[in-house]
Structures are given as structure tokens and as C-alpha cells.
């Protein structure tokens, strides 16, 4: 304490100078209109820069919460975005089902492990049985179809990626369902192939390939990819199509697991046939 007092006593003139200059600064920038305007302009520039910096930092820290919020928002919107499926149900079972209940629900999940370089790629998500996820549920990203749930434990699930040679989806192009298989042959990353579409069909480069009505796992109209190459082999009556997957599997972070609320009933009906 004595040292502090000694320091203040020894440097009192410096402290006094700083105090008096502060008073002067206050007078200059508060009572002189021109200097006040200049100070306000400069202060506004500084504060706006600091505020922007602060906002950027806050936004960065807030990204995780925002992502969760967005996931939930997309999930809610998803529930209302496939009226055709609802109408299909209503039209088909008008007497049995008048409650207008949803055919599909979406559960948001985060990818915790992912491969995109193997022959049979899978990824793990942080939702499992306790969240209502079961085997054979479809998984989509915000860009398009991502895969199908292979197995689940209490809190995690493994998902067969679209980039898996065992994955087979029936493609829907230009309003038509083609009952042929769309497969990933591991020849190019993110590129799938479709064989067996007759050359009489109107297929063009850039055509969107999506899910159709023949799948119980995905709602109709979820993008799978777009046609990136058409091989017109002269000795074959079929096209060999290459399509680029809509989902970027190398940067897969958030997905939605599709829950078909009527899966078991529809499956039973189909198995009876």
C-alpha cells in the first residue's frame, strides 16, 4: 500500500496531466459542434466495426444452436410438404382414414462417422431406437436421398449410404417411374448409374432423378441426382445413364431419418400380394 502511495506521489503530475487532458477531450468533443460531429462519425465507425466483430464471433459460437434450430424447422416443414402422399392415402382409404394423419415424419440427426471412399460406404448417426429409429428407414439430407438405416442401438444407427453397391433404388425421371435398378458401381465418386431404360424414352442431360411412389422408405419427389451422361450404345436398345448424386457425401453433416407411419400396414398389404 505504501508503495502504491509512493508511486502516486512520485507520478502525481503525470496522473494530473492525464486527468486534465481527459477533461479537455470531453470539452472539445462535447461542446465544439464541428469536433463533436467528427468524433461522432469516428466513434460510429469504431463502434460499428466492433459490433460487427462481436456479432461475427457470437454468430460463430451460436452456429451449433442455429443448426439444431434449422434442423427442427426443416423437420417441421417436411411434415407438411408432401400433400400428394396424404391425398394418396385419403383417396385410397377415404372411409378407414379420415383423420388426415401424416404419412411421413422426419427425425433430425447428426452424422458422427462417415465414409465415402470405400466400395460399401456407411455412415453413423446420433439417433437410435430411443428416438424411434428402426431398421429400413430412409435417410435424406437437405440436398437429397442419403441412404437407408441398416441397424440401430439405443442411441446410434448405422446407415447404408447411397454410395454402397448393395443400395438399390427405383428411379423416377420426368414424371415416370422406371422399374430398373439404380446402382453405385464404385467407378466414380458421387456418380451412380442406371441401365435398362429404353432408348424410346425421352431422357436428357440434366434431368432430375428422384424417388417415386414405389418406395415406402422415401416420400415421392426427393432428389437422388441429375443425369450427367447418356451413353447411347449402338448395339443396345437401352441407355446407359450416369447421374451425379444430389447429396455431397464427402460433406455430410446433418440428415433426416424418414419415418413412414404406415410402413408396417403397407408392408403387410404388399407381402400379402
Amino acid at each position: 500500500m505504501q508503495r502504491l502511495f509512493a508511486f502516486i506521489e512520485h507520478n502525481f503530475h503525470i496522473i494530473l496531466f492525464v486527468i486534465l487532458q481527459t477533461i479537455c477531450g470531453f470539452l472539445i468533443f462535447s461542446l465544439n459542434p464541428y469536433q463533436q460531429a467528427t468524433f461522432s462519425k469516428a466513434a460510429m465507425g469504431v463502434t460499428s466495426t466492433i459490433n460487427k466483430l462481436s456479432s461475427d464471433v457470437y454468430s460463430y459460437w451460436d452456429l451449433k444452436d442455429q443448426n439444431i434450430w434449422l434442423q427442427n424447422q426443416v423437420s417441421e416443414q417436411f411434415k407438411e410438404s408432401f400433400p400428394q402422399s396424404l391425398y394418396y392415402l385419403n383417396d385410397t382409404f377415404p372411409i378407414r382414414d379420415t383423420s388426415m394423419h401424416r404419412l411421413f415424419d422426419a427425425i433430425p440427426a447428426q452424422v458422427v462417422f462417415n465414409t465415402a471412399h470405400k466400395t460399401n460406404n456407411i455412415f453413423l448417426i446420433n439417433k437410435g431406437l430411443s428416438h424411434g429409429i428402426k431398421k429400413n428407414m430412409g435417410v435424406i439430407s437437405s440436398q437429397g436421398i442419403a441412404g437407408v438405416v441398416l441397424s440401430s442401438n439405443q442411441n446410434y444407427s448405422s446407415v447404408m449410404s447411397l454410395l454402397n453397391t448393395n443400395m438399390k433404388i427405383t428411379p423416377h425421371i420426368n414424371g415416370q417411374e422406371y422399374f430398373t435398378e439404380m446402382i453405385w458401381d464404385n467407378s466414380k465418386p458421387n456418380c451412380l448409374s442406371i441401365n435398362g431404360i429404353n432408348k424410346l424414352e425421352q431422357i436428357n442431360l440434366g434431368d432430375i432423378v428422384s424417388s417415386g411412389n414405389s418406395s415406402l422408405l422415401f416420400p415421392k419427389g426427393i432428389p437422388i441426382g441429375h443425369v450427367s451422361k447418356i451413353n447411347n450404345l449402338p448395339k443396345s436398345q437401352y441407355f446407359e445413364l450416369e447421374l451425379e448424386a444430389a447429396t455431397n457425401f464427402r460433406d455430410l453433416e446433418y440428415v433426416f431419418v424418414i419415418v413412414n407411419n404406415e410402413y408396417s400396414r403397407l408392408k403387410d398389404l404388399l407381402s400379402n400380394d
Binding site: 502525481f12 503530475h13 494530473l16 496531466f17 486534465l20 487532458q21 477533461i23 479537455c24 477531450g25 470531453f26 470539452l27 472539445i28 468533443f29 461542446l31 465544439n32 464541428y34 469536433q35 460531429a37 467528427t38 462519425k41 469516428a42
Partner: protein
């Protein structure tokens, strides 16, 4: 003591009644009253010097309504004066309680000290008054011409005091 008070009143009066109303040119804006700070007694404590500088600046600001500008400039003037005088051998004169002048410091040290302080003072107030929209050319011409005139007048004051003693 009374002589000193009269001298201070005369210098301040000369500044606010005559020099502040000089209408020779827009480039001439001499600040001669700082000679009062320049010639403060050498034995005066630093704290008192700062308070005197602050007070004199306040008086000048009240007359020309430029709140804070002359006060700030006078405080810097005092601080720079302290730094310069610390490098000059004036202990004997300080012990004799003499004021800083040509007689105590000698012509060359006094001239250089005055030159530095006067030029600094003029440029500092010109910068503060035009802050944010400074016309460099106008500032340099005004600063140099006003400093030159102030130096001349302060030189005359010093000559008069030399003759007196």
C-alpha cells in the same frame, strides 16, 4: 507579485483584445500569450505548472469560445517544456527562483526551446480546430506564418525585459 499580475493581465489583454482581432490575413493567427507559460519560474512544481497551464488555457478558451482546445494545447505545452528544460542545466537558476528567459538560459537554448514550443502550439491548435477536415496546405502556411509572428513578438517582449533589468 503585483508587477507579475499586471504583466499577465497585459499579455492576456494584448492577446484577446489585439492579436485575436488582427485582420491582416486568414493565414495569421498568432498565439503570444504562451510566453507566460514559457517564462514560468524554474523552481515551480510540475503539478502547479500543469494547473497554471490548464487555467490559462481555460481563460483563452472562454474569450474565443473554443472549449478545451487551448486548455489541451497549454497542457501539452507545459509537458514539452518540462522535457526540454530537464535537458538544460538550470538548477542554479531554479534554486535562485528565477524565471525561464534569455537571461537565465542563454540566447541559443531559449531560442530553440521557444521555437519548438511555439511551432508545436500553433500546429496543435490548428490540427484540433480542423480535426477531421484538415487542409494541409492551409495548416502549414498558417502554422508557420503565425509561429514566425509570435516568435517575433515574444522576442520583442524578451528584449524589453532585458532592457528593464
Amino acid at each position: 507579485m503585483i508587477n507579475k499580475i499586471i504583466y499577465w493581465v497585459l499579455v492576456i489583454g494584448f492577446q484577446v483584445l489585439v492579436l485575436n482581432h488582427l485582420d491582416i490575413s486568414s493565414y495569421i493567427y498568432p498565439q503570444v500569450f504562451v510566453t507566460l507559460l514559457l517564462t514560468l519560474p524554474l523552481h515551480l512544481k510540475k503539478t502547479y505548472q500543469l494547473l497554471i497551464g490548464f487555467g490559462l488555457g481555460l481563460v483563452m478558451d472562454l474569450f474565443i469560445y473554443s472549449p478545451g482546445i487551448h486548455m489541451s494545447a497549454c497542457l501539452w505545452f507545459i509537458v514539452i517544456r518540462m522535457l526540454i528544460l530537464d535537458r538544460q542545466d538550470l538548477k542554479e537558476h531554479a534554486n535562485n527562483k528565477l524565471a525561464y528567459s534569455i537571461k537565465t538560459a542563454g540566447f541559443s537554448p531559449f531560442f530553440y526551446t521557444t521555437l519548438i514550443l511555439i511551432v508545436f502550439y500553433h500546429f496543435y491548435i490548428l490540427w484540433l480546430e480542423g480535426i477531421g477536415n484538415i487542409n494541409i496546405e492551409h495548416m502549414i502556411i498558417t502554422g508557420l506564418s503565425s509561429s514566425l509572428l509570435s516568435l517575433t513578438i515574444i522576442g520583442v517582449f524578451q528584449a524589453l525585459r532585458l532592457n528593464k533589468y
